[in-house]
């Protein structure tokens, strides 16, 4: 949500796994995906298919995600469907890119780290950090 100043002018659709978070941040136009993490295989499948349906329905030109697994699904599916994709890797990992971030890299048109020391000139760009 700290990225909102960059996004709101483009009238984005926000996707969350917790509609109450959207209520807290007073975001109106949202879609909800079931939550998933790498420890829960069944939930992962459910989330993946929900993400697939969502991307096919919304047909976004651009998908931006900050992770984790539900966001990764959206980025992979959107990239395959021809969208441009942006991955902003979580600031929670200062020693290495997040696992979902590493998987997202080949599916990202722009891949951004929030730690200067993790930047690589070719495919991990650093512009700043949200915190």
């Amino acid at each position: 949500m700290l990225l909102r100043p960059a996004l709101d002018r483009f009238n984005p659709v926000y996707v969350t796994t917790n509609a109450r978070l959207a209520a807290r941040d007073r975001v109106g136009d949202i879609r909800v995906l079931p939550d998933a993490n790498r420890d829960q295989l069944l939930k992962g499948f459910r989330c993946f298919f929900a993400a697939f349906k969502l991307i096919m329905k919304e047909k976004p030109d651009i998908v931006l995600s900050t992770g984790a697994l539900p966001g990764l699904f959206c980025v992979i599916i959107a990239k395959m469907a021809g969208a441009r994709t942006i991955w902003v890797d979580s600031i929670a990992n200062s020693d290495a890119p997040s696992l979902s971030g590493r998987i997202a890299r080949p599916f990202s048109s722009l891949w951004v780290t929030q730690w200067e020391h993790l930047a690589r000139s070719d495919n991990a760009r650093y512009f700043g950090a949200l915190l």
């Binding site: 960059a6 109450r20 807290r24 979580s90 915190l131």
Partner: protein, 162 residues
């Protein structure tokens, strides 16, 4: 009021227990969000999950936040200009998959209003120190530049397509 939160994803009984044991001596009531932990606090008002909208209201009223190293909590505390004590989960004690929280906490520790405890003794010491006032934080230059870069990329992508 003091707010303790360990997030909602993983249990963190060690932190909940430490704060529960010290709570009667803090001179202020403590409210805790304990997630899926097994330890039930005896000296604090507690709930497993606090609704995000209510969490936001609570945050407005607290004098101090004690938390695991969750980014969501750090962001919320900063938005409300609240002092924060962070105590990271330890992978060695099977509290997390890895110690990424420790590294992140240490990197963020220099920021205004954030103090970090890595042992029980340090946590108790910080809890007894007077709370420092946090002034309202402006949007940092590095947040602005990340937002600008993202917005520029989106703008270029849209123009490239039309």
């Amino acid at each position: 009021m003091i707010l303790l939160t360990v997030g909602t994803q993983l249990p963190f009984d060690r932190l909940v227990r430490i704060v529960d044991e010290i709570a009667p001596t803090l001179g202020e009531p403590v409210t805790a969000q304990i997630g899926c932990g097994k330890y039930i606090p005896a000296n604090m008002e507690w709930r497993r999950v606090i609704d995000p909208v209510e969490f936001e209201d609570l945050m407005d009223r607290v004098t101090l936040v004690i938390s695991h190293a969750g980014i969501g909590t750090i962001v919320t505390a900063q938005r409300h200009s609240k002092p924060l004590i962070l105590f990271a989960r330890s992978a060695q004690l099977s509290e997390h998959r890895n110690d990424h929280q420790l590294a992140t906490v240490n990197a963020l520790a220099q920021q205004q209003g954030i103090r970090v405890a890595s042992t029980v003794e340090e946590l108790e010491m910080l809890l007894r120190e007077p709370v420092t006032k946090v002034t309202r934080m402006e949007i940092t230059a590095r947040r602005q530049s990340l937002c600008d870069a993202v917005a520029d990329f989106i703008q270029d992508s849209i123009e490239g397509r039309s």
